[in-house]
Amino acid sequence: MNKVAPPTTVSDLSAGKWRGARQVLRGALVLGLGVGLAAAMIMLTDGWTACDRELNRIRYEQQVLARLVPDAEALGSGQTSAAGQTLALGSSEQTMRVVSLKSQSLGRVTVWLDWQAPDGYSGPIDLALAFADGGELLAVDVLSHRETPGLGDRIERERSDWLQQFATAHAASSLYLSHDGGAIDGISGATITARAVTNAVRAAVLKRAASNAR
């Protein structure tokens, strides 16, 4: 008498045969409506702010360029016309933008934007590298990253002078962390981040040397 068959379907759970199904449908509808509304709000905000965000990004890029090549002539006009160039280096290699600037003290300077360190601690790190005409590395800056706040974000130029190490001339063979027998000091607590940036800089230097030799 106490034996009651366990409910096997959703509709067995309620009295009416279709009540369960109807409840599930209603729930799905409410949830779908809610999620749709949320998505619509995000899309509206996204569309509304897209233009200003892109402007902010370009402005920041120009700040980075001005930091990399402080005495560049006609920064801005020359840069925006050149920023469209995209150079794909082979199939397995990265795509980056190449900007040519004329500096009063350094002559012609080539800046690579969006050069990626693919193996950061949480996602790729976008770098900007400035090369002199002869191919030697002048300076490195970080365009965007998502490293751990307080540890990995020491790679930012505003937070520490770790990046300055790349400004002194290094042979590509010594562009390793001092852990790995190179000349670059790591960041305590953020070895993976520092190693990712160093490896990417070395790859860029080698690539640049190869393309110069050609």
């Binding site: 009295a15 729930g27 902010n56 937070r159």
Partner: protein
């Protein structure tokens, strides 16, 4: 809050008879729930928001981080310096208040069975929109804050306040709760950040110039000019646990004392 749950329980057991009945019961409930929060009907919303007691439960009695132990993931991950703690604390405060406000405003339209997915959707939407707006209006601030903002979605203190408070209380009370809880979370973050920075970096207030402009670069308080001074373990994850344990113990200290006294009196 409890009464609402109890009176809902038999309904579920019997099975709701019709949508009309359910709606009528709901409206009765909301009327019946009014006396439990008498302050909300008497004073203006501004007076309620500004009252000194508004922040109290979240700040100390029910501090989300030190008493309820909620939102530990961002708390432990980001409290590496004083400034980081301030920044994440403030971002959480804003998100908590806005999400409490919107969930409280929607509370009569949210079906009971679906509340959790809807809360998560609301919190994620608020965080995404705050992120986008910051990127537009305060780009330089976003460059410092941007890393922290996605972490707020993983803060279950936000979800807990939505479930325990905002889904059952009027809008003003919920906003007040959000502010109080946000301040409490910020307090824990700032304290932990300061402790870890002093021990781990032998400084206090580094990176302040990023947050407040060029002016306070000299405010950084360096105990040791050596860049590698400090015990690294305080900055690494174990240090976060040590510090949190210390603050939890300190927070519980007076209360434990009081309990002992009462047992002695008996």
């Amino acid at each position: 809050m409890l009464g609402q749950q109890d009176s809902n329980a038999p309904n579920d057991a019997l099975g709701a008879q019709s949508k009309h009945d359910e709606l009528r019961r709901k409206s009765q409930l909301s009327v019946a729930a009014q006396p439990s929060v008498p302050a909300t009907t008497e004073r203006s919303w501004l007076a309620q928001l500004a009252s000194p007691r508004a922040a109290d439960p979240g700040l100390w009695v029910q501090n989300p981080a030190l008493v309820m132990l909620l939102g530990l993931c961002p708390l432990l991950a980001v409290s590496t310096t004083l400034i980081n703690g301030c920044v994440l604390g403030f971002a959480t405060l804003v998100t908590l208040t806005v999400s409490n406000l919107s969930i409280s405003a929607l509370r009569n339209w949210i079906p009971r069975d679906l509340r959790l997915p809807i809360f998560v959707t609301v919190v994620a939407t608020v965080v995404t929109i705050v992120d986008l707006l910051l990127m537009t209006w305060a780009f330089s601030l976003h460059r410092q804050l941007g890393l922290f903002i996605p972490l707020i979605v993983t803060n279950c203190a936000v979800l807990a306040r939505a479930e325990a408070f905002a889904s059952r209380q009027p809008v003003i009370a919920s906003a007040r709760d959000g502010i109080g809880m946000g301040l409490g979370f910020m307090l824990a973050l700032v304290a932990l950040g300061a402790l870890r920075e002093v021990i781990g970096h032998a400084s206090l207030g580094r990176d302040a110039h990023l947050l407040l402009g060029g002016l306070p670069a000299s405010w950084v308080w360096n105990f040791n000019s050596d860049a590698h001074a400090g015990m690294l373990i305080a900055v690494l994850p174990p240090g976060a646990f040590f510090g949190l344990a210390l603050f939890c113990a300190l927070r519980q200290w007076p209360r434990k004392d009081a309990q002992d006294k009462t047992t002695l009196d008996r």
